[in-house]
């Protein structure tokens, strides 16, 4: 029995050696920018098609959130796929970005400048604050390993949520800022209340548009993809693949872990700001660990370390519950079953072999046809 198995393995090895083609086009190797250009082109074309379609109001309402989730998934993929550390608190950075972004945009709401500029400034502020939180949280978190790191990111996410859920920020009639954790004392006018404890953000200016969201998606995609295929990105992936070897060739582990983590949290901050400006009100409890997990699901289903995959899975999985709306109460049940089935098909070593064979067959047919033409 054991012998048979060994022989089987050997056969598998030989097969592996036979199909051992260069990892061309793989996300770890693609150095030519054709892939990037194609992805961006697809996104832009998708934008023009979608903006000319007649969509139901429900679907229209989902356009910005879909983009937000794409950005979230891509940025989390930097931490999970490229840095190789499991984070369960990514929504915390989104939450921070949403709150600081809205507080800032409320502060400059009456300033004499175009709306777009106000929004861009708010996003920048949210990005910077996201990065700062990335540093503050990254310093303790990145010393830990594996599941311990995961639980601490979850803890930080929940702490951020709980703190912001009790935060009051407002502008009094005389123009001074009131900020505390116990309730407004001097702010009486509801227009001056920016953050009202459990009620969260109120009177948010609706700056977010599908156009801005798509531009942000493209920008974040470029940043992620360029980062991965640069000196820094390689250093981060080297640490992921083998920390001890990376150290032995002179890579500063702490520094590069930090760079990836902070970049990831900064982009989540930006996404949070975009998300918030799509609604009139928003509560901190929306950013609980379930949201972090939802984004993690996008990342894993799209392929760990595969940025393009994150885009596709974020789109499909955000729209799926809506597409399943027709089956009413069963939709979330079907969603969960689909999730389990997809994971089993995608990741089980046995089914993987089957899928690969099928893929090769389909490819074979395709190539033959091409040859015939």
């Amino acid at each position: 029995m054991a012998e048979k198995k060994a022989v089987g393995n050997k056969a598998a090895d030989n097969k592996k050696a036979a199909v051992k083609a260069p990892a061309k086009g793989g996300i770890f190797s693609s150095r030519n920018f054709k892939g990037d250009i194609i992805t961006i082109a697809v996104l832009v074309i998708a934008y023009f098609i979608i903006s000319n379609l007649k969509l139901s109001s429900l679907m229209t309402g989902l356009l910005v959130p879909v983009c937000v989730y794409i950005i979230m998934a891509m940025s989390l993929n930097l931490t999970v796929g490229i840095l190789g550390e499991l984070s369960l608190g990514h929504a915390g950075f989104m939450c921070v970005g949403a709150f600081t972004g809205v507080i800032f945009s409320r502060l400059i709401q009456s300033a004499a400048m175009p709306e777009l500029l106000k929004f861009i400034l708010s996003i920048l502020v949210a990005t910077v604050v996201g990065a700062v939180f990335g540093i503050i949280i990254g310093i303790p978190v990145l010393r830990l390993n594996g599941d311990y790191l995961a639980i601490v990111t979850l803890a930080f996410g929940e702490i951020i949520k709980a703190l912001l859920n009790n935060l009051y920020v407002g502008k009094t009639a005389d123009g001074s800022i009131e900020m505390n954790m116990s309730g407004f004392k001097n702010v009486t006018d509801s227009a001056g209340k920016f953050v009202s404890g459990p009620l969260g953000l109120t009177k948010i200016p609706k700056y977010a548009t599908f156009e801005i969201a798509v531009v942000m998606v493209v920008l974040v995609y470029i940043i992620c993809s360029h980062f991965i295929h640069s000196r820094d990105g390689r250093a981060v992936m080297a640490i992921r693949d083998n920390r001890i070897a990376a150290e032995s060739v002179g890579i500063n582990i702490t520094k590069y872990k930090m760079i990836a983590f902070v970049l990831s949290s900064a982009m989540a901050g930006a996404a949070g700001c975009l998300y918030a400006h799509n609604y009139a009100t928003l509560q901190a409890v929306k950013f609980d660990y379930n949201k972090s997990i939802l984004i993690l699901v996008f990342v894993v289903l799209g392929g760990i370390g595969n940025i393009k995959g994150s885009i596709v899975s974020a789109i499909i999985l955000t729209l799926l519950p809506e597409l399943l709306r027709g089956i009413g109460n069963y939709r979330m049940l079907i969603y969960s079953i689909l999730l389990i089935v997809i994971m089993l098909i995608n990741w089980s070593p046995k089914s993987r072999v089957v899928v690969q064979r099928l893929g090769a067959k389909i490819k074979g047919i395709f190539v033959k046809e091409k040859a015939a033409v």
Partner: protein
Amino acid sequence: MDKILTLLSNLVNGLQLGSVYAIIALGYTMVYGIAKMLNFAHGDIIMVGAYVVFLLFVGQGFNPLLALVISIAACTVMGILIEKIAYKPLRKAASPLAVLITAIGVSYFLQNSALLIFGSNSKTFSSIINLPSIKLAGGKITITAISLVTIITCIVIMIALTTFINKTKPGQAMLAVAEDKGAATLMGINVNKTISLTFAIGSGLAAVAGALYCSTYPILSPYTGAMPGIKAFVAAVFGGIGSIPGAFIGGLLLGIIEILAKYYISAQLSDAIVFGVLIVVLLVKPTGILGKKIQEKV
């Protein structure tokens, strides 16, 4: 004097909540130790267990103990099935994240099944223990029967589990599988059976925890299990994940910290404080209170 009495009664409440966390955390930690996976659906098994007790005891007027036994049996079977269907095929997957996401899928599945069957309205659970409270210090401290039962149950479970693992063959097999699956197989241990057994015990414990938790916090909804599940996960990490005494100590400490923080600092921020303490503990001892430090061999 009154302050001391309040503190004492808070401590009792903390121990009670902590005992529930400890029972759940034991399941978490055993599964982690053996299958090396974070079973995110563990919290939802608590909810299923509580619903079974609710249906039989509150709905059909069953004897509470009988209802609990049936609930344990149901959860045990469910735990084994979940492992066989959803987790086992991914045991050798390339990334440990695969099984984590599947566990999340199972969690959604259980929550949404409960939502379909029982509706989104929460049910009012009644305590499975109908005994008079104990009054101490001239009636200034009241210890409810459910408090006592919860704490005692937790201690009994802890002792029984430790004995089972150290003194019986299946228990020793669990230790062996936790240490090294390959070597355990070579020693003739049936790894599949051992893992099934672990899930069975963990899920059975979750059913007990569900009944006890809902007896104190009587609101039952499809999402009831999520928060205690996460807290118990924190407790398991707190004590050193994979360690059984660690889960026990972690659970109790977490319960006490939570109740004290709620009473003395802020009810809204008690969760934040619990998580804050966890972070501090892990920074001082990166593998939890009783966790073993493993150094990578170069």
